[in-house]
Amino acid sequence: MKEHMTIISNRQIAKGIYELTLASSLVQRMHTPGQFVHVKVATFAPLLRRPLSLCDINHEAGECTIVYRAEGTGTTLLSQKQPGETLDVLGPLGNGFPLSALSSGQRALLVGGGIGVPPLYELAKQLVKNGVCVTIVLGFQTKDVVFYEERFASFGKTYVATADGSYGMKGFVTDVIEHHALSFDVLYACGPKPMLKALQQQFPHKELYLSLEERMGCGVGACFACVCRVPHSETAYKKVCSDGPVFRAGEVVL
């Protein structure tokens, strides 16, 4: 569950967005899209691990890929790491996207916002392998931070929207879905909470799986840092780290 993984590559793929490839036997334990790893960026500081989603799992090569945005202390430090260095990685953690929700020939709509896009990549890959028909909608702030459009396009029709209209359609992922009247059997989404809420409102009666973010301590369910409320209860809760990060829409209060 915890290994020092070797950095194979760590390169910028869009403005402030990095693609990190890691190798070690831990990869053989990684299976489910939507799961995350908890990464210790440096020995001493910053102190806490950083939760990062699996973006691509390659069992043959024994490698996994993570795509992250260099923002705060931890991810900025991570972006300076060189191939050959090692990273202390705990994982895979959490419950990912349920693939069994769909069988061959059914239609999945994958909706990603910003740095929520990465876990959808492994999801798309596995769904397509299962014969599921995949449509992808990606939303970004602006042109400079768009990534992986072509890679997604190899799995299915891929739409891109930017909030400022500098690339693709101007607007939000919900606008794209409405505009193209996209339909689906199951919708999978990962992105900022307002996006997830909007999707839940747009499709109140459909099967949606939403991946949540929350500040974490342990990442394994022990510290109760990352709880969210369950509808209609004063004390019931789910932990994003160990019960999620993927929940069925309606399961938890967004």
Binding site: K2, G221, C223, Y237
Partner: protein, 312 residues
């Protein structure tokens, strides 16, 4: 001879290493990483009379060499702890120290009475950092008389020895410790977290939804050591030390300051294996330091190697 074995009131510990309350849940999560029977003891999450949801999120924030938490005593309540958590823990050969909390003396007493009768609960740990609702929000942990009254009330009903967990947010930690000793406590655990906060520079809002939270981790280690050093010389109760411990060296430093056992909290979030690793690293470190038995270390910074607390 097991050179790590330690005897404390109510506790025959195979080693003096235990997870600190609130950082290890009720053990289920870390049981996936290793056999919990290797631990000296387990301090389980604070239990209150009723189930509590706790504070809104974000509940944690990072600080230099530390973290803030404002979990807000989320727990399933005494009934569920007695019915589900403690029986599950009973499969392991490890004594449980039950951390209890409440808003009134009566709530503490009720929880203490019931939880202290559970077969694998060998000691109670009173978390006195909660505000006393009846006394208008004065924290149990900052006024010696209030802490003493609570200690006395809980001692009266508890079926097992009672340890009181000191808050570091006080002017005079020795006065707190002495009052609690006189009230009949069997031991002290220290320190709980220091009150702190962080503000998001982008939004100008406190990072924690609760605004302030408890500071833990390596950052507070020097404060914990100083307090244990002071208290261990002023009272004759055994001390379970905590505050930023990450390694076997840290454990020895806490013993030297005056601790007779230690608990590890925040370090679990950095390394889930921290407890077994520290337990593994201690015997070679004792060899290196030329120390036979870990108990010899207690108070060595001020007593030149005499035994301070010996339960035997």
């Amino acid at each position: 001879m097991n050179r790590l074995a330690v005897e404390l009131p109510g506790l025959s510990l195979k080693n003096p290493i235990m997870p600190a309350s609130g950082c290890f849940g009720f053990g289920r999560e870390y049981a996936k990483f290793y056999d919990l029977s290797v631990l000296g003891a387990i301090m389980i999450k604070a239990t209150t009379l009723e189930a509590r949801f706790g504070n809104p999120t974000p509940r944690v924030a990072e600080t230099p060499s530390g973290m803030l938490n404002a979990i807000g005593l989320q727990n399933p309540g005494i009934d569920k702890v007695l019915a589900e958590e403690l029986p599950w823990l009973a499969q392991y050969d490890v004594p449980i120290i039950a951390n209890i909390a409440g808003s009134t003396v009566e709530e503490y007493v009720e929880v203490a009475k019931r939880i202290s009768k559970a077969p694998n609960v060998h000691a109670l740990e009173l978390n006195i950092s909660c505000p006393n609702v009846k006394k208008g929000g004065i924290a149990f942990g900052t006024v010696p008389e209030v802490a003493a009254e609570l200690t006395r009330a809980v001692k009266e009903v508890s079926a097992v020895p009672v340890y009181v967990k000191l808050s570091p947010n006080v002017t005079n930690i020795v006065a707190m410790a002495k009052a609690i000793e006189q009230a009949g406590a069997d031991g002290l655990t220290m320190i709980n977290t220091l009150l702190g906060m962080r503000i998001d520079v982008k939004t100008a809002k406190p990072i924690l939804a609760n605004v302030t939270g408890g500071l833990s981790g390596p950052a507070i280690k020097p404060i914990a050591l100083r307090m244990i050093y002071e208290v261990s010389q002023a009272v004759s109760l055994p001390i379970i030390g905590m505050g930023g411990i990450q390694s076997a060296e840290d454990v020895i430093e806490f013993f030297y300051a005056g601790a007779s056992a230690v608990a590890i909290g925040t370090a679990h979030f950095i390394d889930p294996y921290v407890c077994p690793n520290v337990i593994r690293d201690l015997p070679p470190l004792l060899d290196e330091l030329g120390i036979q038995h870990i108990s010899e270390c207690t108070g060595r910074s001020w007593n030149n190697g005499q035994t301070v607390y010996c339960g035997a």
